[in-house]
């Protein structure tokens, strides 16, 4: 798009040999990406649809019993779907505000030297493999939670969500920080010149201008939470029931796939059901994506009204 809009208005070398190589490279790389995505989707749909021969769609989506190894298998995924949604929501509620606060701090408030210290540390946190978080949840957080609140088990939704929230912070925090830093200095200066305080400037000028960047950063974090498997497998407890309290063990779609795919006979109903679980996950992330696109569009309108 950028390419066609600017044609003719740039240097006479535009569209020359170098440009063509770059354009073709970009085109082929993105084509490959789209093709791969298409294949994944095709494969997922192809492998998941046969499950509908064994059970109905409403039984799959709203059934309460997940006993896939029985004959005939009980393939109700409602508790699993609810677990996935609940964990995603809770971990976002924990992780996103913290990330945003850290981003505002590093981008707007912290002095340069402190920022240079905090930012790399934050990014370092992002390198910790998820299995380490899972292990932490299992041997440190779980016993502490259980003793502190005298629970049935420390491996539960709160535990897994807190860990996921922590895992979100490095990604979302550092991307949001970059979004905030990208806001032109002139905007801040203009705001200060009009007599706005620092807080007013952050809230009314910088945050709205950086909103699209912050939103896509948050989106990445939320998707990570939805798709995270290892932490769920290790720290979420794995009971296939709809969580009724923060401290109930849960069993999201991801850990179900991970735990059961290894020993499922290829082509069995259980096998196809697990692919269907993958398809549901994909649809959930797609829905989150669309939702955020909508919010973003609304945000632009709002910003247009304000500025």
């Amino acid at each position: 798009m950028l390419h066609t809009r600017k044609r003719g208005t740039t240097s006479p070398h535009f569209g020359g040999w170098g440009d063509r190589v770059a354009a073709r490279t970009a085109l082929s790389v993105s084509t490959v990406c789209i093709l791969i995505m298409g294949f994944i989707l095709y494969f997922l749909v192809k492998e998941s649809l046969p499950v509908l021969k064994a059970t109905t769609l409403s039984e799959l989506l709203f059934g309460m019993d997940w006993y896939p190894q029985e004959t005939p298998p009980a393939l109700g995924m409602f508790p699993l779907i609810m677990s996935s949604l609940a964990v995603t929501f809770l971990s976002s509620a924990i992780g996103l505000p913290v990330s945003l606060a850290i981003a505002v701090f590093t981008a707007e408030i912290a002095p340069r030297r402190l920022r240079n210290l905090v930012k790399p540390l934050l990014e370092l946190l992002g390198f910790i493999p998820s299995i380490v978080f899972g292990f932490l949840g299992m041997v440190v957080v779980a016993p502490w939670l259980q003793d502190r609140f005298s629970l049935l088990t420390g491996l539960n939704m709160a535990n897994a969500s807190a860990l996921l929230g922590m895992m979100m912070v490095p990604i979302v925090g550092s991307l949001a920080d970059e979004a905030l830093c990208a806001v032109p200095r002139e905007l801040r200066d203009a705001s200060y010149a009009l007599g706005a305080t620092r807080w007013e400037t952050i809230r009314r000028v910088v945050l709205p201008s950086a909103l699209p960047g912050i939103l896509s950063a948050s989106l990445l974090g939320v998707m990570r939470a939805t798709g995270e498997t290892m932490v769920m497998l290790m720290a979420a407890g794995g009971a296939a029931v709809i969580p009724r309290s923060l401290f109930d063990p849960v069993r999201p779609l991801t850990s179900t796939i991970a735990a059961e795919m290894g020993e499922t006979p290829v082509g069995s109903e259980h096998y196809h059901a697990l692919f269907f679980a993958g398809l549901i996950l994909l649809l959930i992330t797609l829905a989150i994506n669309l939702l955020s696109a909508k919010i973003e569009a609304k945000g632009f309108k709002l910003k247009g009204g304000n500025l």
Binding site: M64, D65, W66, Y67, P68, Q69, E70, P79, M138, V139, A142, P143, Q146, L152, T153, G154, L155, L233, M234, G237, G238, A239, A240, V241, P249, R251, S255, A258, A259, E260, G262, E263, T264, P265, V266
Partner: protein, 277 residues
Amino acid sequence: MLNKWKVFVATLIRGLGVAGAAYASEIVVNGSTTVLPFAQIAVERFAPAHPEVKISISGGGTGNGIKGLIDKTTHIANASREIKSSEIEQAKANGVTPFETAVALDCIVPVVHPSNPVKNLTFAQLKKIYTGEITNWKDVGGENAAIAVVGRDSSSGTYGTWQELVVEKGDKDQKSRVTPKAQVTASSGAMLTTVAKNKLAIGYEGIGYVDKTVKAVSVEGVEASLATAKNNTYPLSRKLYMYTDGAPAGDVKAFIDYVLSPDGQKIVTDTGFINIH
């Protein structure tokens, strides 16, 4: 252009075929993670005496091992359960005849937190705990506290054996289910950690994995041990198998014979299982 590609791909595939043929004496062992601990040591001790044989061993789970045997990517499938009739059918359709060799005895032990005063549980009590009928330790002679039921993922061999020997025991038409509130752990190690870290927990584990971090509970008054499993008084024991395509022959036979030999069976006992003889 397309033709060139075809030739290229064909050459590549032929090349792979030749490379495969060069390792004619390669044995691929896959299957149950329960069998893995002693099978791995057996491989390590077997290898120096047989430098011409290349053995690769992994533990993808009983189902995966048998899957490998059926599609001929695995020569020896370790199993913590007997092969299912559906798997035999699939194998036959693929021209594979599964041959069973029992190599060790395993017994599954109910485990609780070391601080738990409960020492013995009956089959009926275990069944009721796992189906969610009994939810308090005081109903089975313990303290007044809720029971945190911990199970394995449904594709684990240990789960299958537990389901069959405990949960479905005495069932006729309607098979009992493990309560959906039961926590699920994805490996023997995770089960051990979960129970060791939770005072209210009950779990189950192959005797080879049980260590001092948890307390073993006796079943029907019989303590799980080498002796009781061997003389069949301990009610929760099972055989561990190695499956091959047809009766073992050549290098595969040499390896399985080694596992069954006194040296091999010593490894079995050393890793906490019970020898088959």
